[in-house]
């Protein structure tokens, strides 16, 4: 178990992390989501011991680790660019930690071959032992890098944007692979990513980082369904966020009064998920907001429609499993509607103040 408390780090005048506290449990898949510049790489480097925090402490199983090198923290890091040793074969790369570590090195060739072999088997690269690392593909490099770290049996494995450099196809396969490998070994993975889909799909728990702050820690479905602050909703890239204010039991936005969930009298922001909104003709009785159609994007299983509302772009996602895509022309006047229970409202500080209990956090 790793406990971070009140970690802070600045580079010159730029504050990278401010007062970050969180606990990393044993045997869990943790994802860390943050837009670029949110301090997620800095946090990873602090945990790993590659940088020193300005303030705060990092306890691994109750022991303070500030100043300790990574391997003595029981940590392993899989770097974003894989950092494979270019002059070595796959075998030599994977065995590096076992053979050359300062403490308790493994020099028995049979033992090395057995452990490296078992690890390559786990990551699906058996038979690649004698390949040079320049002769293998990006996805294979990723696996070698993972195997090199995991073979040293760390308690926690930190993965810095592990899928960032892979193409979409490989990315999907590696997503499953990473989960399978983690389940097999029972090691904690802390997976850092800037991609919200990846963070939602992979994690048992998810941390959302924004401007150096931890803004939410919860299981992915809870974060997706009920972002506790407006910034989380923005980072997820799944919510239309409308500005305005509460008035007469409704939310005034662009001259319209939108329905409010219970008990949200001081609302300043109103969020509605892309897939909770519906496009209707302008004169439809249920119409809540008048919009102008801009364009649409086919995503395979669905279509994302982009419309101009009173406060910027309004997006609606429509899944195609139940219906054919509707076709609109650019500039066409439409309206959007949604169930009042799907709306989330935030106060002026961006804190969640109202939501329907019906929706819950599954």
């Amino acid at each position: 178990m790793i406990e971070l408390s009140a970690l802070s780090k600045s580079f010159g005048d730029a504050v990278a992390l401010r007062d970050v506290s969180l606990t990393i449990e044993d045997d869990e898949y943790l994802t860390l989501l943050g837009p670029s510049g949110s301090g997620k790489s800095t946090l990873l480097r602090l945990i790993a011991g590659l940088d020193k925090p300005d303030a705060g402490s990092i306890l691994v199983n109750g022991q303070n680790t500030i100043g300790l090198p990574p391997h003595q923290r029981g940590l392993g890091i899989v770097q974003q660019n894989y950092a494979l040793f270019p002059h070595m074969t796959v075998q030599q790369n994977v065995e590096f930690g076992l053979r050359w570590r300062e403490e308790n090195p493994v020099r028995d060739e049979k033992e090395l071959a057995r452990r490296v072999g078992a690890m390559l088997e786990l990551v699906g690269l058996n038979g690649f032992e004698n390949r040079g690392v320049g002769q293998i593909s990006g996805g294979q490099k990723q696996r070698v890098s993972l195997a090199r770290t995991l073979v040293t049996e760390p308690k926690v494995c930190l993965l810095d944007e592990p899928l960032g450099a892979l193409d979409a196809n490989l990315r999907e396969r590696m997503t499953l692979e990473l989960r399978r490998i983690r389940d097999t070994l029972g090691v904690t993975f802390m997976h850092v990513t800037g991609n919200e889909d990846e963070a939602l799909a992979m994690g048992d728990r998810m941390i959302v980082l924004d401007q150096g702050h931890v803004v939410m820690i919860a299981p992915p479905d809870a974060i997706y369904n009920l972002p506790c602050s407006m910034r989380v909703a923005q980072v997820l890239n799944a919510y239309n966020i409308l500005g305005g204010q509460s008035r007469d039991n409704g939310f005034e936005h662009g001259g319209k009064l939108l329905p409010l969930p219970e008990g949200a009298s001081e609302a300043a922001h109103y969020a509605i998920r892309y897939d909770a909104a519906k496009i209707v003709p302008q004169d439809d009785p249920s119409a809540l907001l008048q919009v102008t159609f801009l364009t649409s994007e086919f995503t395979g299983g669905g279509v994302t429609y982009f419309m101009r509302g009173p406060d910027g772009v309004f997006e609606v996602e429509r899944h195609l499993s139940r219906a054919d895509p509707e076709v609109y022309t650019s500039g066409q006047a439409l309206a959007v509607t949604w169930d009042a229970k799907d709306a989330l409202v935030y106060d002026a500080q961006g804190v969640l103040i109202g939501h329907s209990e019906m929706r819950g956090a599954a």
Partner: protein
């Protein structure tokens, strides 16, 4: 193949247009490298008499070279001095390069330090060589300083006009050619590799031995080629700092050409070229430069 048939088979010259890019270089190198090199080999078999040379082919000059203590000794001496200078330039150059390439993380500072290494080249080669005389001489700066400090009673005489002086001079002049390529290779090593190795538990010494050294080896080889080629062909430093006592192959060529012994000078030229070719080949065997560059 299929595209060529579709394009109604353009002429030979049209298809190989891009080879015209090579013409100036090839012409230049043929006239001023290949032809003279062949000429040198040819002349080494000519018959040399005291005042004339004729193109009757003979092995006499070659026999003289390998039979003579003086000439064959010069070959051995050249190789010995070359190996000593090479060893010392690596010994002195590698740590300096390690500092510039790995310890200094700021690119601007790196460039400034590398440029600083080249500053001695702003003075002419001969002045740099001759400047060692007032440094190393019997009443030179080093002896005066050591005597003033009371470290020695009598001046050290082996400092100048000896093989030691030649080695000191050559190391100083050529060490920068070792520092440059090594620092360049070291600066190219991705810091994440070193972080990864440290993260895997390797000590600083292991990281140097297993990661930094092998990855900088191409730089060492390139530096060694520079230094070797220059030292093997040297004559100015050895004659200026040894008082003509240390004769390298280069010095003998100068003397022989001076007394118009063309055939014999050619023999030494061929030997020197062969030694250089051998040295470069061996050095290139150490690392696969094709893979690195």
């Amino acid at each position: 193949m299929s595209t060529e048939t579709i394009q109604s088979n353009p002429g030979f010259f049209t298809r190989n247009k891009h080879y015209w890019l090579l013409v100036p270089g090839v012409v230049w190198m043929t006239l001023f490298l290949v032809v003279p090199l062949g000429m040198m080999v040819y002349v080494s078999f000519w018959t040399q008499t005291t005042f004339a040379i004729s193109n009757d082919l003979t092995l006499k000059s070659w026999q003289t070279f390998f039979a003579s203590e003086t000439y064959f000794g010069a070959l051995i001496r050249t190789i010995r001095i070359w190996l000593t200078v090479l060893f010392l330039t690596i010994l002195i150059g590698y740590p300096a390069a390690l500092f510039i390439g790995q310890m200094v993380r700021n690119k601007t500072t790196q460039t400034i330090l590398l440029v600083a290494c080249v500053i001695p080249f702003w003075t002419s080669f001969l002045i740099r060589v001759l400047a060692w005389r007032p440094m190393l001489g019997k009443e030179g700066a080093i002896n005066i300083l050591l005597q003033k400090l009371g470290l020695i009673d009598a001046p050290i005489e082996v400092l100048l006009f000896t093989e030691l002086a030649v080695i000191i001079g050559m190391v100083q002049i050529y060490v920068v050619f070792m520092v440059g390529p090594i620092a360049f290779m070291l600066a190219r090593i991705d810091q994440s590799l070193i972080e990864a190795a440290r993260d895997l538990g390797a000590s600083g010494w292991t990281i140097f031995r297993k990661i930094i050294l092998p990855l900088s080896l191409p730089g060492v080889v390139v530096g060694a080629i520079f230094v070797s080629v220059m030292v093997l062909g040297e004559f100015a430093t050895s004659s200026a700092l040894s008082g003509r006592k240390v004769n390298l192959l280069g010095n003998i060529i100068v003397t022989q050409v001076g007394s118009l012994k063309w055939a014999f000078a050619a023999v030494i030229g061929v030997v020197l070229t062969a030694v250089m070719a051998l040295v470069v080949t061996i050095l290139l065997r150490i690392v696969d430069l094709r893979k690195e560059l």
